[in-house]
Symmetry: D2
Subunit: 358 residues, 4 copies
């Protein structure tokens, strides 16, 4: 019953096998090797376009380095109020951008809406250099509330951003889950919808540590290799990333893993919906569930070994309130989640309510 996070697994066996295979033999260092090259080619095929792709070990590095190529230090980055980059990555964006401003423009809706963006862009001061120019919009796909932007929704935001001189970043830590959810192509959900730079995360969905910054807008990539090296993010044994990515992409493995996680989440959501005292806060569109439940139940579950996290109550939509004896929990499924885990979890819920009713 491990619903804590999708980063609490190891690598998938296919990814690990490729890593093991790549371990032998001599290669040049710093990404100048056949595994890295093969991985970049696989990404070009996957996204059906030319692109520049650079590997790093963490999502925080990927996002911050990507954003540092998109804004000047006296400009700002717009994002949702609960975006990972503003909530969970310390002040990494400020470090790597040389001190650009982070600015949340959306609250309480789980995704950035065109209205959020429009309202902000209409009221922002433009008396430069006094005011801070908005230069990048960051969209999280799937969002921190487990919601997925459709290609059309991404397009609308991207167009609005570009009309105002902003470039578009996508934090794709769960991009695989989003693609699996939308049943569209990776291209449709990224550059065809106006995304300039995508941080594609494999770690949460089958890799051990493999994140890749993909520049569809190649002009933005000019300084990336300098920034990556300077940030200590250029690994000497580049095959580590290349091999994982090759294994992850091979035969749609990445999509199978994501689909598995999504399906587990959907099924768990259905099971949870059968209990009156548990409230699903958002529709389940990827591999995360957000649930309001009685505190007593939460303690009961955790005592029995179930893992999940309390979540930020300020991310709740305005129409939903939480009582003093309730908690707001996030449950995450992954590529290793098994049916039995869900069943055990629901058994525990049933037991709890039987006991408390009795």
């Amino acid at each position: 019953m491990y619903f804590g996070s999708d980063n609490q697994t190891g690598a998938s066996s296919q990814v690990l096998a490729m890593l093991t295979q790549a371990n032998s033999g001599y290669t040049h260092g710093y990404g100048d090797d056949q595994w890295t090259n093969k991985a970049v080619e696989a990404l070009k095929t996957l996204f059906e376009c030319d692109l520049e792709a650079y590997f790093v070990a963490t999502g925080t590095a990927a996002n911050s380095l990507a954003l540092s190529c998109m804004v000047e230090p006296w400009e700002s980055i717009l994002c949702h109020d609960s975006a990972h980059i503003i909530l969970d990555e310390s002040t990494a964006p400020e470090l790597f951008t040389g001190g650009a401003r982070m600015r949340s423009i959306s609250q309480g809706e789980g995704k950035i809406s065109p209205k959020h963006l429009q309202d902000y862009l209409q009221t922002i001061g433009t008396d430069y250099p006094h005011n801070v120019r908005a230069a990048a919009l960051s969209i999280t796909q799937a969002s921190e509330s487990g919601l997925v932007y459709t290609p059309e929704q991404v397009s609308v935001l991207s167009r609005m951003a570009k009309d105002n001189g902003l470039s578009v970043h996508m934090d794709g830590a769960r991009f695989a889950n989003a693609v699996a959810s939308q049943q569209c192509t990776p291209a449709e959900l990224s550059w065809k919808a106006g995304v300039d730079v995508l941080c594609l995360g494999a770690t949460k969905c089958g890799a051990l540590c493999a994140e890749v910054v993909i520049f569809f807008n190649k002009e933005l990539a000019d300084t990336f290799t300098y920034r990556r090296k300077r940030g200590g993010h250029l690994l000497s044994k580049g095959r580590l990333f290349g091999a994982q990515m090759v294994g992850w992409l091979k035969d749609d493995h990445w999509l199978d893993l994501a689909q598995h996680a999504n399906t587990q989440a959907t099924q768990l959501a259905k099971q949870i919906a059968t209990f009156d005292c548990l409230q699903l806060v958002w529709p389940v569109e990827s591999n995360e569930l957000f649930v309001i439940m009685p505190k007593g139940l939460a303690e009961h579950l955790q005592a029995a070994g179930a893992e999940f996290y309390d979540w930020y109550v300020d991310t709740l939509p305005p129409n939903i309130t939480i009582a003093e004896d309730e908690i707001f929990a996030r449950l995450v499924t992954s590529f290793v989640t098994q049916d039995v885990q869900r069943e055990d979890f629901c058994d525990l819920i049933r037991n709890y309510f039987s006991a408390t009713k009795a």
Copy 2:
């Protein structure tokens, strides 16, 4: 009819005279001179306490350097949504703090309310080092909407801040106007109300360029001289600041200047209130007026040589809306504003309405 800004004047004659007097003769450089020493002593007397005081040339430098002594690069600074430090000082706070996060916690009320602060502190994540710790609260006195925090209001915010581990910064670019408005002592409006560091601005109210960072909490000052030098803000001819400050403080000159500006604002507000088509947005508590007026009138006034600025519409309180044919304007009085300027301004308004009615 110069209501553009209180920084569009020169120095008061008393300040200029002292500067001229200080120009002669030899002194040591970098603030090691009798004028600087005299100014610091005068500040101690004024604030009735021991303190550390450091001069810089701009309010942006004062605020950013002060804040850099109060937060780590992985912490955040809380302020009102229209605070000068977040709206009009580029990303200077990020530069000088090494990339700390700026975070607005209040919108639409002209001042930070205890509820704003409490709400934010209750929902902020505390899973360090992932989340960003709030480490400083910045209060602008008088606020960017021309409102003044009473000593009691400052105290309530300070107490709440300190109970949560935040230190308290006051942007006192118009501190003189606030003191004049409150008829309290400078001490009561600063350290006695819990302020750790005050950036006291003389420039807007009679000096040519003189801002002073005052540490009531002297422990926070440990690294200031390094930061000031490194920021290029240590002037070689320190007498420039010392002399201005000595002249500004002498015989309550600063308070007379501020009182003059405030009185002009109050009187202008009264005159404006007589016109039905002009709406004062906030009560006038210092030397700024915020007015909604017909666009046609604004053009008429500016064509006749009146100066004032369009202001940020997102700083309007939620209950006030602005029509398409209206503008939101800020008018600022200063120590040189004359009665005749107000009268000429009101004559122009009258003329306009006579003409349009006819």
Copy 3:
């Protein structure tokens, strides 16, 4: 004949086996897992003391983050003129320290001598905040010229540093090779010799990517976790590092690997010394050889598939000059270097000279 770099191998089989073993099962993220804990315990045992240890993926990250805990942004870091941190890590130290100064104090001797340090400390200005205070000394072990500091040599430098208020950093990218060379304990070559912070590298000597910042002076570690997260260097799947380190340290595996590489270097040096036209620049004390050779020979070797790099001629000692038709090359052995590689290499040399003489 792969003498390009010791980072052009994969992981040793023991390290890879442990990584594979650790891949299964559920753990908490971000280093809160049993593998990381076990690795830290193993380091305490190895170094015979309490310590704080933090894993990162690259040597550049390790060094820069370590140094950022040791100096203020207005202070400086002293190092050898050819130190990796000043020559090969871009401006990462400046990034992570918030802009501290890098300062080389030694040229042309392959190691920092006490005289270098003393000379610098005696002439440096101390008129703060104008001058830049020296706050840390960085020693590379083994040095970039393949030389090893004895425990006594480290002690002398450390004592001099501390007498002048500097703390001591050791870049231990090849610490294993140095220990193997000195036949002393890791403790004797680090904290017992006055080292405050050691960046211990496993990557070059058997791991895939595993570097650990070890604080013997635990007070310096206060802010490390914030800095690592903020630098994007906190991996979610911490077992990656933990497992590698456990495998690397188990049964003195690390020392065997290092000893193998050192022995290969020593033997290659002996072979090279038999050729008149090749000149060994430094005594071989670890796993690197620095050789002056005819350009024609170098081209011949590389055409035949031998790999090695041209090296920085300004690192040559003052008494050694290089002719126009010569090159200065670095050859590195590793834990996978085989006897046959050396023999093939020497055969090529012999062939070349036979051919040219003929």
Copy 4:
């Protein structure tokens, strides 16, 4: 007998008079005023070319902001070992450049020689992004040893710099003294000799605080206004700078002031040369003298009220040594130095030697 520094005076009477005149009346803020405009026009006339000019309050700000427009954070700035920017301006260059590297390339000769530059450029690594690319050369005019680069010398260095992709910065804190010394035009000593950006200092030579960053290479100025604002260096009452500069440039006033200081230095040098026990270290080419003298004499002079500073002994040329009972002193003349000061100073020396001989 004030030979401490040329920043220990006030403003010249002509500069102060212009400042007083500019104090009256209303102007726009932030440099959008007639005084600033007039000053920029005067600079264009003086330098016989189009240019961009921006005022700041300190030489440290001018230099650091200028350099920040010339290098990326992963590049380096080359300068003389005793350059003010590397020795006396804390780590301001690192702050404003976002962490670029400072690198001294010359020691012991008082000026950068073409050989220094050539040697460095030949040996520097070019394996990017690992190595740090040299991107700017900074020349101090007059140098920190009081020496002046001739137009031809500047040209040679500039050409070499540009051939290697570096742009050329001139720290002109004493540019006026250098022009007076060379009897050439300001244009000949700056852009005609290849200087891209000149930081022209008026403060040391007659102003109260007025430094101006002059971009002859206007493309480099693109981001300057953002950087200045963000650094807290955009003064609201811009007339302060404009008026000083107008007064300083009017009727060759600046050159008269510089000539006066230079002449005083030359005469003092002649007087000092008459004493056997005092040794002039460098030829006097501007307004600074560097003298080795007996410690006893130094104490005698200072006890009698003479002011001068001990200087960095590591700036001594290699052929000059200093005995234990000697000190190395810097004496600076200024636009207010009077003959009587020199005479009193020499009388004191005579008295001292009479007394010690007796």
